[in-house]
């Protein structure tokens, strides 16, 4: 597994003074709009997200969650109501987690939601683009 260091890619310009996203959050692949500016709060929390793309040669069968390739990501956009999203998809649960995916091209996971905290929806900065 990669370390997925979410250290500090340059975030200046992405986060406003009051901690909100200054830019539109978009799908990296298809550009589908996920969040409008100012709708989400920058937050740091260690969350494991499976890889967006399967490694070439990796087995295609179902994988246990623990065995899944992925990254621990730290920088997220947080919203407390799923209707804040412009467009987003939710997977069915894996354990108590629903992953967020692009609503249009379904790439993902781009984010994370736990059924234990119904007011927290995270979108990983590294898994989206900003414009």
């Amino acid at each position: 597994m990669e370390s997925g260091e979410a250290g500090s890619p340059d975030r200046s310009g992405l986060v406003s003074e009051d901690g909100k996203n200054t830019k539109t959050v978009l799908c990296q692949r298809c550009g589908s709009k996920v969040l409008c500016p100012g709708m989400a709060l920058f937050t740091e929390k260690e969350l494991f997200l499976p890889s967006m793309r399967r490694k070439p040669g990796a087995p295609s069968g179902s994988q246990e969650e623990g065995a899944m390739e992925g990254d621990v990501l730290r920088a997220h956009w947080l919203v407390d109501d799923m209707y804040t999203f412009e467009n987003v998809g939710f997977t069915k649960e894996v354990g108590k987690v629903k992953y967020l995916i692009c609503a249009d091209c379904e790439i993902g996971p781009i984010g994370w939601h736990s059924l234990d905290d119904k007011k927290s929806f995270y979108v990983a900065l590294e898994r989206v683009t900003h414009a």
């Binding site: 406003s16 003074e17 539109t24 890889s51 179902s62 109501d81 209707y83 987003v88 069915k92 119904k118």
Partner: protein, 248 residues
């Protein structure tokens, strides 16, 4: 009622200008940023839409554009998409759709009433190349009659227009079926070619908006819509079926 909804509805008009609004000027005074804390309302309406129909008619495809080459291979094929939030803009209003696809639960009795109950729009899909999916329609209508809200908008979709050469159900047959049901709209679509797919949802939303009383103050109106929804949460465990509320 969820108090957050009230907060979000503050901020009045101008929802469409968010991008411009927050374009530059990173340096704000505290007061300015406070004023901006609740930027333009996220949505004017929130509506639930469900997609139903027999197995293999392409319900899921109507909800998505393309599926290959995504994490889905690793995750989606085993986990599956549960639902989507999609935003459409119509008549200057921003409408959030929560779209549920019932794929994998096609047996009529296995789709619980919870899916139907909150739905303001129901898309009933059949496959124009498979007669049995058309013949199943009356059974789906029974489910709708039994569980869905009486004012839910209905749209019948003959899918797989891209397979025109294999067509066994004529357009007229579909139209005729829809005509027999009051208020049911009809169209044909191809999820594969993305033909009519966006239009389907716009049409449905348009019909839903038409049914809403326009003169009610925005806030009241929105609340009344919201109250028709189940918790705006992820409802993975569906509650037990509700007794049939429709008389006759």
């Amino acid at each position: 009622m969820d108090p957050r909804n009230d907060i979000q509805r503050r901020g009045g008009g101008g929802g469409a200008h968010t991008g411009v609004f927050l374009g530059g000027s990173p340096a704000l005074t505290g007061a300015q940023s406070r004023r901006r804390k609740m930027p333009p309302r996220p949505a004017d309406y929130k509506l639930q839409v469900i997609i139903i129909g027999s197995r293999g008619v392409g319900k899921t495809s109507l909800m998505e554009r393309f599926t290959d080459d995504t994490f889905c291979e690793a995750c989606k094929s085993t986990v599956g998409v549960d639902f989507k939030i999609k935003t459409v803009e119509l008549r200057g209003k921003k409408i959030r759709l929560q779209i549920w696809d019932t794929a994998g639960q096609e047996r009529f009795n296995s789709i619980t009433s919870a899916y139907y109950r909150g739905a303001k729009g129901i898309v009933l899909v059949y496959d124009i190349t498979k007669e049995e999916t058309f013949e199943d329609l009356p059974k789906w209508m029974k489910m709708i009659d039994k569980y869905a809200s009486e004012d839910a908008e209905l749209l019948l979709v003959g899918n797989k227009l891209d397979c025109e050469t294999d067509r066994v159900i004529s357009r007229q047959q579909g139209e005729k079926f829809a005509q027999r049901i009051s208020g049911m709209r009809f169209c044909e679509a191809s999820a594969k070619d993305n033909y009519n797919v966006d239009e389907i949802f716009l049409k449905l939303v348009d019909d839903i908006l038409n049914k809403l009383p326009l003169e009610i103050p925005n806030r009241e109106l929105s609340n009344s819509i919201l109250s028709l929804q189940p918790e705006p949460e992820v409802p993975p465990e569906l509650p037990p079926p509700r007794p049939n509320l429709r008389c006759c």
